[in-house]
């Protein structure tokens, strides 16, 4: 049946069969296969720790850098400056410093480890139902349908809901698909490499408190290190203050000052920008695209705003915290009734196809969905014993294959943020909090050196090219194409093609 299938596909299929059950042979008396938790078969490109309790993006290198920078600077401050300051001025200083430090760490870990508001992908039945509705609306079969959008009127504004081909759902308003994590995230703000996670509905307030408290902490440390230098130079000359203390100490002081100086500009700038966003109830994503700016039209306003600054702030920071929708630690249920295609062989092929399709060509994706639809169109009356094949195999497939493909992908897409190990530079970060001039400034080449600005570049797949490659390409083109706001399904193709090439490379080894 699968003679015509390429070597790589067959390889994947064989591995699919072997991972389906824990024993190689289907032993009839072995009724229980070890229960898997849902995070183990999660289709997105995330990493889980502590048996599903902790969830982060795939690339976490920059997050460790953030941790090291914070711990190092604070450690040096507490070890070398605090004793002197506590003695000379007041012991309250280390206490306040300590409180700020703990708060910063707490909010950082909370931002990095929590689920940003990932939307689970559609179940096969839902996807089939949506496809049916879209086909009925279009009246088309066979050829590639136009971009799928649905229009809603929210508080008087017309908002377009886009269809996500990867997750097979119509994205709720303000949701976006993060290409780095390969998930749709509710109220998507941006993907932050510094915290190693997306920032969305569920962790935006932690992110904001993190950058706010970090601003206070860096200003605090900066101020008191300078105070230390001034005070100890008053006792002797300035140079003697640096010379008397061992050379090591003076290096440390200079290091602290340098780190804090650069951090202050970028972090404080970022805090200011996000304060503006919160008070106007916008996401970074919306602000960059100018979705609600009055430049787009006289009647263009933000339909989500509560009217005044205070209400918006309260809503963002003190609103209810929605629970995670993806149930990471639940067990995979394989016995729920499903409207599945009848025969085993077709199911396997369909499952293989539909699983790889979200990494393969757009056409294959649509073909396989239509295939499943056609098979499902015949009267479906029985529960399938073959559905564990669809569920577990496809999830495992989805779990392993994207992981392997992203080994190749991870390089080009995220190399740019990772390639900036130096602390944020001073001037270009100021561009972050100038909302009116956002696009032209981001169009500048300065954006390339500014890791902070990457927050804004690393926005979802509306951008025609994969975001990680974007700054390498044409920053000006980036600005223009974002303005168009036109959804092109081909936008995901280059990413998918890369992963297909990667897959073939890996499987041929």
């Amino acid at each position: 049946m699968h003679l015509g299938v390429s070597e790589s596909m067959r390889e994947c299929e064989y591995s699919q069969i072997s991972t389906r059950s824990s024993t190689p042979m289907e032993t009839p008396y072995k009724k229980k296969t070890p229960k898997k938790r849902k995070w183990q078969s999660f289709p997105g490109r995330n990493r889980f720790f502590c048996n599903g309790r902790i969830m982060m993006a795939k690339q976490t290198g920059v997050f460790y850098l953030t941790l090291v920078l914070i711990l190092l600077t604070c450690g040096l401050f507490f070890t070398f400056d605090c004793p002197y300051l506590a003695q000379q001025l007041t012991p309250v200083i280390p206490v306040i410093g300590g409180v700020l430090f703990i708060f910063v760490l707490g909010t950082l870990l909370r931002t990095s480890f929590s689920d940003p508001g990932v939307l689970p992908r559609a179940t096969p039945d839902e996807a089939a139902d949506l496809e049916r509705q879209i086909d009925v609306a279009n009246g088309s079969t066979g050829y590639r349908p136009p971009p799928r959008t649905k229009e809603v009127v929210i508080n008087g504004q017309t908002v377009k809901l886009k269809y996500c081909f990867t997750c097979k759902i119509f994205r709720p308003p303000r949701a976006s698909h993060c290409s780095l994590c390969d998930n749709c995230v509710e109220r998507f703000d941006h993907h932050c490499p510094w915290v190693g996670n997306c920032v969305g509905r569920r962790n935006y307030r932690f992110f904001y408190m993190f950058i706010l408290s970090l601003s206070f902490l860096t200003i605090f440390i900066f101020a008191f290190v300078i105070t230390h230098i001034i005070l100890s130079s008053q006792e002797g000359g300035f140079l003697s203050a640096l010379k008397d203390s061992p050379a090591r100490l003076s290096c440390i002081t200079v290091l602290e000052v340098v780190v804090c100086f650069f951090s202050v500009w970028s972090i404080v700038g970022l805090s200011g920008f996000h304060t503006y966003l919160i008070s106007s109830n916008q996401t970074t994503n919306e602000d960059i695209k100018g979705s609600w700016s009055s430049k787009k039209g006289k009647d263009n306003y933000n339909p989500y705003s509560h009217g005044n600054v205070f209400a918006n702030c309260c809503a963002a920071l003190c609103g209810p915290l929605p629970p995670s929708l993806i149930d990471r630690r639940g067990f995979v249920q394989s016995d729920s009734p499903q409207l599945a295609p009848p025969t085993n062989g077709i199911t396997m092929y369909g499952a293989t196809q539909s699983q790889q399709s979200h990494m393969c060509d757009q056409d294959q994706c649509i073909q396989s969905t239509k295939f499943v639809l056609q098979a499902a169109a015949t009267p479906l009356l029985q529960q399938q014993s073959s559905e564990p094949v669809i569920l577990t195999a496809s999830h495992e497939n989805g779990g392993t294959l994207p992981g392997r493909a992203s080994l190749v992908l991870g390089g080009p897409c995220t190399s740019l943020p990772l390639g900036q190990p130096t602390p944020p530079t001073s001037t270009s970060s100021l561009s972050c909090h100038e909302p009116a001039d956002m696009l032209p400034i981001h169009g500048h080449g300065h954006g390339l050196q500014e890791p902070v600005a990457h927050h804004h570049y690393l926005t979802p797949d509306e951008v025609p090219s994969p975001p990680g490659m974007l700054p390498c390409g044409s920053p000006m083109g980036h600005g223009h194409t974002l303005q168009a706001g036109f959804y092109d399904p081909a936008s995901q193709d280059s990413l998918h093609e890369d992963s297909v090439r990667g897959l073939v490379k890996l499987s041929s080894v």
Binding site: I102, F103, G106, T107, R110, L119, P120, A122, T123, D125, E126, D129, V152, V153, I154, N155, V159, L161, I169, P172, P173, R174, E186, R187, R205, F206, M209, P303, Y304, C314, A315, L317, C318, G319, P320, L321, P322, P323, L325, I326, D327, P337, Q338, L339, L380, L381, Q382, Q383
Partner: protein, 158 residues
């Protein structure tokens, strides 16, 4: 209660699934969780319109209660902030409490209203709050020919 539960189990395991109806989200009031109250045509002869609308409206009101920005949510937010959000690890948020109430309500609705009509509601939280899934099973009235399923149901309702 036992016989009702038995009825639900029967539905899930022995009755045949005909189709699934998906009630989509209503975004006309923003990102707040609401479901469309439009009556789907597939349920035309299975359940009364008023019962269905009653269910959806009650669910919507529960979600509004969960997402309400008011006294309790402010208190929770400020308390949690003061403890560097460690408090969220220990306590159950208001949203989670309301979700528990919702799943209790759905279970009750299934037992009393939907299962006797061969329908089954799935809690939206299990579908990522995207849809309210209603599983439609074979109409019991037309199943007189197959003795096994009618026997199990008769046994259930006895």
């Amino acid at each position: 209660v036992w016989f009702q539960f038995h009825n639900l189990q029967d539905l899930r395991h022995s009755a045949s699934l005909v189709t699934k109806v998906f009630i989509q989200r209503d975004y006309s009031e923003g990102t707040v969780c609401r479901f469309l109250t439009k009556f789907p045509s597939e349920l035309d002869n299975r359940i009364e319109r008023s019962l269905f609308e009653e269910t959806v409206k009650t669910l919507n009101s529960y979600y509004i209660e969960a997402e309400k920005i008011g006294g309790q949510s402010y208190l929770e937010g400020c308390l949690a902030c003061a403890t560097a959000y460690i408090a969220f690890l220990c306590m159950e948020t208001r949203y989670e409490q309301v979700l528990k109430k919702i799943s209790g309500y759905i279970q009750e609705q299934n037992e009393k209203v939907y299962a006797p009509r061969g329908l089954l509601l799935t809690d939206p939280i299990e579908r990522g709050m995207r849809v309210l899934e209603i599983s439609v099973f074979e109409d019991q009235g037309s199943v007189s020919s197959s003795p096994s399923s009618s026997m199990s149901l008769a046994g259930g309702s006895a």
